[in-house]
Amino acid sequence: MTRPPFSPARFWAMVVKEFIQMRRDRLTLGMMLGVPMMQLILFGFAINADPKHLPAAVLLADHGPQGRTLLYAMRNSGYFAFVRDVRSEGEGRELLARGDVQFLVNIPENFTRDLLRGDRPALLVEADATDPAATGNAIGALRVLAGGALQHDLRGPLAFLADAEEAGGVPAEPPKDPIDLRVHARYNPEGITPYNIVPGLMGVVLTATMVMITGIAITRERERGTMENLLSMPTRPLEVMVGKIIPYILVGYVQAGLILLAAWLLFGVPVAGNLLLLAGAALIFIAANLAMGITFSTVAKNQMQAMQMSFFFFLPSLMLSGFMFPFRGMPAWAQAIGELFPLTHFLRIVRGILLKGNGLDDVLLQLWQIALFAAVALTVGLMRYRQTLD
């Protein structure tokens, strides 16, 4: 008379029901297949922890052949791509501050003369080291190549410059490179990773929470049946949407403030720039994410779908924004996709303001791209928002 502890029939009924429900919820099924595919592609193809072809600006004040040899050698290493010639250090530093170039290579006046005299002229390389991972390998390669590059040029009578021993002298000290390579890791001279990660985390946390929180905002009204009531009242879509966004902007600010405080107190991240500017940029960034969430909310049928959509948005944001892996390490197509995400631009802004001391001029280019994203997302959301239940 006792019930069997396990009934295969009931077990099978459960299995069949789950399969039917799984098949009905196409989006979930799509996500279950789509997310691994996306991860596969992102990790497999887009991510490269050894970024090459990093853009560099050159300040060439000496026109001797040896300077050019050095530049060729740098280019041939694959790490440097000389994209700009600058006339002054100021110009070069501006490019560095805006993030247009990763390096500024300075071959000073009288480089050739000093080299030939054996005076070990300086080769100045300034690196944007906000992300130590992005520049580390390139700088390592540079140190190796600085010694070897001129070997070819320094032959015959000049050979003594390449190697003191060969020149017959007894070395009193270990042989020196013919040039004096000076690398300035700017903005993060000690190469402290948290300096890069912690400010970036602000953008990541805001993306993760803001998109999701508004993502469920409208679907929740629909699921609980309160949407019908809301629609029967004389409301306009903009009132509903913006009304749902504003409270979470406040939440976003609290989050950003907490992270900033922790960055400063726990990690000692420098605050080189203007915090008010950062607050302004954060406002636009938060609004962009909330607008995205609201738009998901108008598309998703239920809260579960809205959560999945936010995750589907968050994952590539995280991977392709330059938070986890150096942006310049990714192939062009991945960079192009990365440029679409607000997080990518916000990371540049927040790192720029905190570490580089960027001003409004420097961040404006990034900022309007976030604003554009917000406007597009909100427009799509407004178009999708139905004032009727049709």
Binding site: G225, M227, E228, N229, S232, M233, P234, T235, T388, L389
Partner: protein, 313 residues
């Protein structure tokens, strides 16, 4: 201007040919409906007959595929904004915020309609509800009957001229239902027009006017006596032994259109009185007690539904 014309002919609702299709299904099929200002109009029909869809079209929640007309003098197609401001719509399912308190819900609705002197309106509404002392309680914690009263109070806070109530008494106990109807009559007495969807037949009798729909079609409308007279139905009440057997025998006779069991009695109806009388004649001499009665509103509705070719689902 439009408002005045609506008031002039005394019609709060005046729509014609209202039609709504969802894919291949016609949920509402060319319904005409006129409701006078200050009337309580019962909107009856089985589940899925299109009552909710029709009401949603009236208050601008759904766009009709065809049809035109006015609601409170405003065009139902083009002026849904104006209609929404003057209509109180109570949804079938409780659709206020369960995680807001009673007072917070009322306050939210009052703000939405820009009710003048909002605080006072909310306070008065709470007092009328008899919920002033529980105003901080979350709406989700209320029982079904109280939720329904809260919903009604919220629908009334902006002093609408028309109430659209979608099965407001479903799942509410008889006592609360009676009180609810008293409230509705009190409101109608003050000049409010009420369209109330229900499938309780006893509630039909409490309405000034009825409209009965099935499968999206309006089958009959009018006052209760009008609806009964129009149907021209003859009903006999039978009592006695083995009514199940009797029903089986009667069912096949021409002229017998419907047999409904009511406890220990059968109600036998048909729209051709003579034919029905001939059909039952052989049985009247038997052990059963036969009595010709006035058909009830329920007999009429069952008759109309079956005549229209679809039983209640």
């Amino acid at each position: 201007m439009a408002e005045r014309s609506g008031a002039a002919d005394g019609l709060a609702i005046d729509v014609r040919g209202m039609t709504k299709r969802f894919g291949p299904i016609t949920a509402v099929d060319r319904i005409d409906l006129q409701v006078r200002a200050g009337e309580i109009c019962g909107f009856l029909g089985p589940n899925g007959s299109g009552k909710t869809t029709f009401i949603r079209m009236l208050c601008g929640l759904l766009r009709p595929d065809a049809g035109r007309g006015t609601c409170l003098g405003h065009d139902v197609i083009t002026e849904s904004g104006a209609i929404k401001r003057q209509v109180g719509y109570m949804t079938q399912r409780f659709s206020f915020y369960e995680d807001l308190s009673i007072a917070e819900n009322l306050d939210f609705v009052a703000r939405m309609y820009a009710v003048p002197d909002r605080r006072r309106a909310v306070r008065e509404s709470l007092e009328q509800l008899g919920l002033a002392h529980r105003q901080r309680q979350l709406a989700g914690q209320l029982s079904g009957g109280w939720k329904q009263r809260l919903a009604l109070a919220a629908c009334m806070i902006h002093a609408p001229r028309l109430l659209l109530l979608d099965e407001p008494t479903a799942g509410v106990d008889p006592n609360a239902r009676r009180e609810f109807w008293e409230e509705i009559h009190r409101l109608a007495g003050r000049g409010l027009t009420v369209l109330i969807a229900t499938h309780y037949m006893d509630e039909a009798e409490r309405c000034h006017r009825l409209a009965y729909i099935a499968s999206g079609r309006l089958l009959t409308h009018g006052t209760v006596p009008e609806v009964i007279a129009k149907a021209r139905l003859t009903t006999w009440l039978v009592s006695g032994p083995d009514l199940v057997g009797l029903a089986g025998q009667l069912r096949v006779r021409p002229g017998v259109q419907q047999i409904v069991a009511f406890g220990s009695r059968l109600r036998v109806s048909g729209d051709d009185a003579e034919q029905l009388e001939q059909a039952i004649a052989p049985f009247r001499a038997g052990r059963h007690d036969w009595q010709r009665v006035e058909p009830g509103i329920e007999d009429i509705f069952i008759h109309l539904t079956e005549a229209a070719g679809s039983g209640p689902s």
